[in-house]
């Protein structure tokens, strides 16, 4: 497609990545969707880096530590906790963009808007048990090392139980997305992704025993309550990121079924490009 045929919208320039990014920023009408998608990708990578490497709060430590061991635990990773969670508090607002992108997929479906709205509300709430409460509790523990060791142990329990043991919001969120995908007639996502949401929701249930056990497979660091659950969550996240990317590529900003993305064929020109012709 020549630039002249497309009116005043020039073709995407070949060559350097920066020039291509500049072109997309200027002319791509899916710009906001791509910003949302890249926010998801960057956030999840950052989330992994902050929780697993910098704060070293994942994989979770032993739930059965005594008060003096908990004080040592906070002291050992003091800087990681303070700086790591400072970044978490700064980037935490990015979840709004992420949730909006996920909810957009439901708005593009043939189902009621109530699904997207429910999902937005649930996941806005999920930010609290998903990271903020744990971040606050760990930062308090790291910044006030002189407090009573029993209080430190209380903070430790509060941090990990709020993070590992409160999966209800994620469970309902997955079920909302599942229902939307299964009822959708626009083919935004394949139906198997609806069923995968059910698998994810079911693994959210199995973390509940973490409230009861301090050791073994069902404790907050246990093979069933954490490792298997995390394996399912990572798989689920990779799948929905891939499917969201595909949805954006297929997006035609219409209201009917999403067009297919045939192999070797560029997606149909979108509204802006059509209008420019």
């Amino acid at each position: 497609m020549s630039a002249s045929a497309m009116g005043n919208v020039p073709e995407e320039p070949p060559g350097s990545l920066l020039r291509r990014i500049a072109w997309h920023w200027r002319y791509d009408e899916k710009r906001e969707l791509w910003i949302g998608w890249w926010t998801l990708v960057v956030f999840y990578n950052l989330y992994g880096l902050l929780f697993f490497v910098i704060t070293r709060t994942q994989p979770p430590p032993e739930p059965s530590l005594g008060s003096s061991e908990v004080v040592e635990w906070f002291a050992d990773r003091r800087h990681g906790l303070v700086y790591g969670y400072a970044i978490v508090f700064i980037v935490g607002g990015a979840t709004a963009i992420m949730n909006a992108t996920l909810a957009y997929s439901m708005r593009r479906m043939s189902v009621s808007r109530a699904f997207a709205y429910s999902y937005l509300v649930i996941y806005a709430l999920a930010t609290l048990p998903g990271m903020l409460i744990m971040g606050v509790a760990c930062t308090v523990g790291a910044m006030r090392p002189d407090r009573d060791p029993e209080l430190m142990r209380w903070l430790y329990d509060f941090a990990f139980l709020s993070f590992e043991g409160t999966m209800g919001v994620f469970l309902v969120g997955s079920l909302v997305w599942m229902l939307a995908v299964l009822l959708d007639e626009n083919g935004v996502f394949p139906k198997w992704f609806g069923y995968l949401n059910l698998c994810n929701a079911l693994t959210e249930v199995v973390v509940a025993p973490a409230w009861i056990f301090k050791s073994g497979a069902f404790a907050w660091n246990g093979t069933i309550a954490w490792w298997i659950n995390m394996g399912v969550f990572v798989t689920y996240t990779i799948v929905f990121l891939t499917l969201l990317r595909r949805m954006i590529l297929r997006e035609d900003f219409g209201t009917g079924p999403l067009p297919d993305l045939s192999p070797g064929r560029a997606p149909a020109p979108s509204g802006l490009l059509k209008a420019a012709r």
Partner: protein
């Protein structure tokens, strides 16, 4: 037009295709939505992981597991297994009847499946109540933790199964619906519940 060597088959969505006898190809389609098989595969993987953790834990404390296992009522376990197998049989008959467009029979068998599922549900709740009454709870020991965990997560699958079977009944009820694909998808889910139970039964009640 069909010849004597030709056969008719009812495919998903009620479409009848003629399969030529001379060029007969073996039937190559999965029952119901292929998407549901992703669920079956993924759940099989997750449960395999749970079973592996159970077997590893058992191998670390074989005496404790054997001693606690002896408190389970094997007869109730066998009864529950037979009831779920009967429910699978009924749902398979329902699918077969729907393929043959005998929707009355299909509906009867779907209700029969619901009935067997309900019998299992009541039996399981009574079994739990009896065990708790004897003082064997979720926190009694490692064996009972696994016992309650595995049977409870299966129970949640069963509860979802009732919703799924209701969808099948809804489909079969009106001539305006009757999507063969949806009916088979529901049956696939129900068979998964049965399949998982047989493995849970073997691991918890039978394996020594």
């Amino acid at each position: 037009m069909t010849t004597g060597a030709d056969t008719e088959r009812l495919f998903p969505e009620g479409e009848i295709r003629t399969v030529s006898g001379g060029a007969a190809q073996p039937a190559r389609f999965v029952p119901g939505q292929p998407d549901m098989w992703v669920f079956v595969f993924f759940e099989a993987l997750v449960f395999t992981a749970y079973f592996t953790v159970y077997i590893v834990s058992r191998s670390r404390s074989p005496d404790l597991f054997l001693k606690s296992q002896a408190h389970l009522n094997l007869r109730v376990g066998v009864f529950n297994t037979l009831v779920l197998l009967a429910s699978s049989w009924a749902v398979a008959r329902s699918v077969q009847a729907a393929r043959e467009r005998s929707f009355r029979s299909a509906l009867t068998n779907a209700f029969l499946t619901l009935f067997f599922g309900f019998v299992f549900l009541v039996s399981k709740v009574l079994e739990w109540a009896a065990e708790i009454g004897q003082g064997f709870t979720f926190t009694t020991d490692e064996f009972f933790s696994f016992y309650y965990f595995l049977t409870a997560i299966h129970f949640i699958h069963l509860l979802i199964g009732f919703i799924v079977l209701t969808v099948a009944v809804y489909q079969l009820w009106s001539p305006a619906r009757r999507s063969q694909e949806v009916i088979e998808t529901c049956a696939t889910y129900w068979h998964t519940i049965d399949f998982l139970w047989v493995l849970i039964f073997a691991l918890l009640y039978v394996m020594r």
